[in-house]
């Protein structure tokens, strides 16, 4: 409902802009399609609500997105994207915001803005734009046990500074706002993101502070599970490096989230989730084999998962790519005494059988997953 209202407002704003200055307005439409199939050799559900992958296979990561960029004049630009995924069973207002350039260096943004802190978080749903079928889930998953804790975008504003010298383009952005997801309210959220890039290297660093709360209307089982995380402070810091040099492609990224957790017995016991990964690939013309190592750890409760992925990306023409991946996941079950309820019995990024009794959330020590994807842009 809210999303519909926002889309209607956006449409009205666009129409108004058009009527005002019909000649100069420049509309550009684009889209993307990810067709993804994945299966594991275990009945425990992997990436609950994102892919729901188990030994029956899943196509739920498939996504269709539509995007428009409207240049109204030399100062003002509006862009928006909607996307649908079977795991959502709905069409999402993915993001949509206006950018107003104050001068060559300074700009302000307002609207729903995709989380800017990670290397690929702003285009996380656009499979064509990165080597993998799904960006490494120990950093990018919106599962509650990953460092994002579900924060994928925010409603708010940002002040952006950009500059360049002979060797680098660089930018700094401070942002603030909030976000309500299905299971969590991120209130009074603010952050800082720094970026630098040249032809071969991109560097990004981010810090984010949020106040967590439970959204109104949460279903009672979920609310019970989330109750002890409400009204807690969350802090995330991350850093990433991407290099693309002489056919060698490298990604390395680290994200850590700390929650000032006070459990039901009023004991303070920080949740401390760290996810990091490294990917190394090499381009042989249209073909790029790549290898990824991922690690997810809760420094306190023992929530843990490591994995290796071997993948292949094959580019067909200028807007289509075919990908295949094999991944071996080694999860461990969380076992800390003072863990928040939502992390108790959690096994890596598999679904939580404690919180969702109907689901099998206890995987074996080693789970293999194969994924196939075709990504298009148009």
């Amino acid at each position: 409902m809210k999303t519909q209202q926002r889309l209607r407002m956006l449409g009205a704003a666009l129409a108004l802009g058009m009527a005002h200055n019909a000649q100069a307005i420049d509309f550009k439409w684009s889209g993307f399609l990810n067709m993804v199939g994945a299966a594991t050799n275990d009945s425990a559900l992997y990436l609950h609500d994102e892919g729901n992958i188990d030994n029956d296979g899943s196509f739920e990561e498939s996504t269709l997105g539509l995007n428009t960029i409207v240049t109204i004049n030399d100062k003002l630009r509006i862009a928006a994207q909607i996307a649908s995924a079977p795991s959502d069973r709905s069409i999402d207002f993915d993001w949509g915001y206006g950018t107003y350039n104050l001068d060559d260096n300074w700009a302000v943004k307002a609207g729903r803005i995709k989380f800017p802190g990670y290397l690929v978080s702003e285009y996380v749903r656009v499979g064509y734009a990165y080597p993998w079928i799904r960006p490494p889930e120990v950093v990018y998953s919106i599962n509650m046990s990953a460092p994002t804790m579900g924060l994928d975008a925010y409603d708010g504003g940002a002040l952006h500074y950009q500059g360049f010298n002979d060797s680098f383009d660089y930018s700094a952005e401070i942002y603030g706002g909030g976000r309500q997801t299905r299971v969590m309210d991120f209130n009074k959220m603010y952050g800082l993101v720094l970026r630098a890039n040249n032809d071969n290297v991109t560097l990004v660093a981010n810090a984010n502070w949020s106040k967590l709360d439970n959204p109104a209307g949460l279903d009672p089982a979920m609310a019970a599970m989330m109750a002890d995380t409400a009204n807690q402070d969350m802090f995330t810091a991350s850093a990433g490096l991407n290099a693309d040099w002489n056919n060698v492609v490298l990604y390395a990224e680290y994200a850590r989230t700390v929650l000032d957790f006070i459990n039901a017995a009023n004991q303070s016991d920080d949740v401390d989730i760290t996810g990091w990964y490294t990917t190394l690939g090499y381009r042989f013309g249209d073909l790029m084999p790549h290898l990824t190592y991922q690690s997810l750890k809760d420094g306190n409760g023992g929530l843990q998962q490591t994995s290796w992925t071997a993948g292949l990306r094959y580019d067909l023409g200028s807007s289509t790519t075919v990908k295949m991946e094999w991944q071996r996941i080694e999860p461990e079950i969380a076992s800390g005494a003072n863990l928040p309820v939502m992390l108790q019995n959690q096994s890596g990024l598999f679904s939580n059988s404690g919180a969702f009794p109907g689901l099998n959330g206890t995987p074996s020590d080693k789970v293999d997953m194969v994924s196939l994807a075709v990504n298009f842009t148009f």
């Binding site: 684009s30 960029i69 350039n101 060559d104 285009y123 656009v126 383009d169 032809d199 842009t377």
Partner: protein
Amino acid sequence: MNKTTGMFRWVAVLFLLLAGTAHGELAIIAHPDNPEPALTLKQVKRIYLARAKTFPQGGLVQRADQEPGSPVRQEFMNKVLKLRERQLNAYWSKMTFTGRGTRPEVVGKDGDIKQWVLHHPKGLGYIDAGQVDDQVKVLLIIP
């Protein structure tokens, strides 16, 4: 002795001429009324990659691209953008799907670009420097 040196000189000249046609200079061209005195290589690159949206002296830039497969386009990618086709495609998917900017408009070949620039007061194009005439304004020659 002299004769041989002379012949070598001619062969060298011929070779340079041939090399010259295969790897010509590029000219960055604009509308004759464009007040910009000149652009640097870095400025042209930032404008084409949509990192800068306006001319240094103001006004939203309209960018013209040569058609895919054009040798002049290849030269432009090598000398100015310093990107390969595959990297450029990935770059534009990132720019587009984050709402930051769009690809330049594909206009055609040298002649089409010249015509297009004459009809776009804030237009910017690139052509083989040998095709430059006195109708368009040259903002940069790239050797």
